[in-house]
Amino acid sequence: MAVSVATHGHDAHDDHGGHDDDIIYQETRDMRLMGFVLFLVSDVVLFSSYIFAYIYLRNSIQPNWPPIVDGHQLPRLDTAFAAFNSVVLFGSGVTMHYALESWKHANKGRFNLFMWLTIFLGLDFLGGQGYEYAHAQIGGWSGNIFGASFFTLTGMHGIHVFLGVCFLFALWLQTQRGVYTEHRFFGLTAGTLYWHFVDVIWVVLFFLFYLW
């Protein structure tokens, strides 16, 4: 059964048994993986566009950033809290990585543990975002260009995180229903990549909004 594609010569094509099944799985998996990575690339462009917009707008009123609105200077965002919240999200990225590793090593117990840790940290991050939104004194979404770019970008990121949490939860349900095996788990791979991607977007946003 476990014939890998690499060692498979084309004579094995004449065989309609398990070989072919594995090969077809491997090939469709490679295609889906490529498609998924390309989707992530186009999602990167989505964020990059808004990041460009933010940098552009920010440059247009340099050096006054945060901008002065109605005569008073808007405060900076809360870096300390954001640092804490960032660690929560990065941490969830690492736990997700180990969740997938555990799955590959057929360690179901550890997989469940890490998966739930990831989901929990993701939700924690979202809660932190809510806290941040409630406390940011920058004039709201539609008040000025700072609020516009901050809430649009982080909001879009937040939606991605939320969808990611749903994605991971759905994946976990699937693993409980026995959809994936030790050798066929493309969904988990895709979920992990997506989750890493969301984390890495946050690295950039964290720098742009809090550290720049």
Binding site: D21, T28, F39, F52
Partner: protein, 568 residues
């Protein structure tokens, strides 16, 4: 399984090529929600054709309005909506879907020897977004259609009528559809070529689609971001573009053109591909400079990401950026020129068979080259200061878009029509149709260069009486074009009803789609062939192995027709 002769390089991806979903039996699954790329391609073609007629009618309304310097029929406000909708519909709902969705789906999988695209279901979704988005776009007429041109520059678009919101939604949706198609095609071409079809053995139309895909899934996303921001600003008052509130209208222009310049190459590179198929077939000669043509498509595609600001020379961007943008724009003309000369060399000394597709291909060569030249003028900053915002720009982009993209579409439809329907069209009428279109087109748009140089601004409902003669000339010529279009649809209907059977390969072409019956069977190939060389060596035997199952041969159903593909 693919029959592979000893010594033939076999791509790593055979097993999956053999797979095909079982053929559907119900009408709905066969023709409405089909996942067969060929059916989807034809669906794109029909839908795009309908939008082409609507957008074409809008164009004729524009030309009729301009019969008189005071505006013959419309109020200025309505006129604004009409040209905005004309441009939007033609760009996003006619040319892009026809060149990628329609021809890409119908022709490309067959040309690489595949049975379908990589993600048939994604394809289905991508298609169905298209008519829905189109209906949303046109329904904006009910609530006040957008009126700031197809480019919808703020701040005018911020004050535009409510239909502008629908415009945002519609274009956003069609952008998602394009993105899906781009990803789908790239994976298909990368992973699903028949054994032996290395990159340098791919037909040039496949190369063209391949080069277009990054534009589709990268540039389009940037447009989506810009549109979403415009929508958010209009609906929730979030400041991005409104200068009164700290935003920047020029920001929109950057985001819009970062998409839309690559988008003009989405609208022409597949057209290049069609021309590259038609020319060698009707000149019965190998294409000249195969690799040059192939690689220049990729070069154009990549370079096109770095020239967008040539649309913004007069928008108040930083002056020192103008020079690099001007130079890179001119550099893009080099790979384009390489193609033009390769095509001319392909015709040179061939035994030329003047059928309608070839007429269109040569027509394309003439008019597109001309449009490229005026583009070169526009790329020169000092000239652009004079020409920007005038009819010269209108002339330029109609030469490249009508004279280039639409002519290539006509060429492609005539060329592949027998493959799609199994029937020939009326050749005499086809040639007449070409001449009506070609003459009508040139007579309509050539005067616009002069009008533009004399300073006639675009997008205005009335004009100075001194421009009247050439405007009337253009309007009347545009009716000739319209006549050509009506004749075109007549020819298609006539062919369906009375056309002679075409047989599998009426043109004696050599790419793989001609090796199967017309219309092709559901599974395209009974056996996936092996490919020994690029397809254009006229005079040599066909470079395919394992085509015993080709037209007329009787063989069993495709191997593993309902092979279950594990999904996880």
């Amino acid at each position: 399984m693919a029959t592979v002769a000893p010594g033939v390089p076999t791509g790593p991806y055979h097993a999956v090529l053999d797979h095909i979903h079982p053929e559907p039996t119900s009408f709905i699954r066969k023709y409405v929600f089909s996942i067969d790329a060929k059916v989807i391609g034809i669906q794109y073609m029909i839908t795009g054709g309908i939008f082409f007629v609507i957008a074409g009618l809008l164009a004729e309304i524009i030309r009729t309005q301009l019969l008189s310097p005071h505006g013959a029929i419309l109020s200025a406000a309505t006129y604004n909506s009409v040209y905005s909708m004309h441009g939007s519909a033609m760009v996003w709902f006619v040319v892009i879907p026809l060149l990628t969705g329609a021809f890409g789906n119908f022709v490309m999988p067959m040309q690489i020897g595949a049975r379908d695209v990589a993600f048939p279901w994604l394809n289905l979704v991508a298609f169905w977004i298209f008519p829905v988005a189109g209906v949303i776009l046109f329904s904006s007429f009910l609530v006040g259609a957008p009126d700031a041109g197809w480019t919808e520059y703020p701040p005018i678009s911020l004050q535009g009528p409510p239909g502008t919101n629908l415009w945002c939604i519609a274009v956003f949706l069609i952008g998602i559809s394009s993105t899906m198609t781009g990803i789908n095609f790239l994976v298909t071409i990368y992973k699903m070529r028949a054994p032996g079809m290395t990159f340098t053995r791919m037909p040039l139309f496949v190369w063209a689609q391949f080069a277009t895909t990054p534009l589709l899934f990268i540039a389009t996303t940037a447009l989506g971001a810009a549109l979403a921001a415009l929508f958010i600003e209009r609906v929730f008052g979030v400041p991005f573009y409104d200068p009164k509130r700290g935003g920047s209208p020029v920001l929109w222009q950057h985001m819009f053109w970062f998409y839309s310049h690559p988008a003009v190459y989405i609208m022409i590179i597949p057209g290049f591909g069609i021309i590259s198929e038609v020319l060698p077939t009707f000149a019965r000669k190998p294409i000249f400079g195969y690799k040059m043509i192939a690689f220049s498509s990729v070069a154009i595609s990549l370079l096109s990401f770095s020239v967008w600001a040539h649309h913004m020379f007069t928008s108040g961007m930083v002056p020192w950026l103008q020079l690099p943008f001007m130079i890179i724009t001119m550099v893009i003309a080099i790979p384009t020129g390489v193609k033009i000369f390769s095509w001319m060399a392909t015709l040179w000394g061939g035994s030329i068979n003047w059928k309608t597709p070839l007429l269109y291909a040569t027509g394309f060569l003439i008019t597109f080259t001309y449009g490229g030249l005026t583009g070169f003028f526009l790329a020169a900053v000092p000239l652009d200061y004079h020409e920007h915002g005038t009819y010269f720009v209108v002339a330029h982009f109609h030469y490249v878009l009508y004279g280039g993209s639409i002519m290539s579409l006509f060429a492609g439809i005539y060329y592949w029509w027998p493959k799609m329907t199994g029937r020939m069209y009326n050749e005499k009428l086809g040639q007449l149709q070409f001449w009506l279109t070609f003459i009508g087109f040139n007579a309509t748009f050539t005067p616009m260069h002069w009008l533009g140089l004399l300073g006639m601004p675009r997008r205005v409902a009335t004009y100075d009486p001194q421009f009247q003669f050439w405007n009337q000339f253009a309007s009347i010529s545009s009716y000739v074009m319209a006549l050509g279009t009506v004749l075109f649809f007549y020819i298609l209907f006539d062919s369906i009803r009375n056309g002679k059977k075409s047989g599998p390969n009426p043109w004696g072409a050599r790419t793989l789609e001609w090796m199967v019956s017309s219309p092709p069977p559901y599974y395209n190939f009974k056996k996936i062939p092996a490919v020994l060389a690029a397809p254009y060596d006229f005079g040599n035997p066909l470079p395919y192995l394992g085509l015993e199952a080709a037209p007329g041969a009787t063989e069993a159903t495709p191997t593993s027709a309902s092979h279950p593909v594990p999904t996880y």
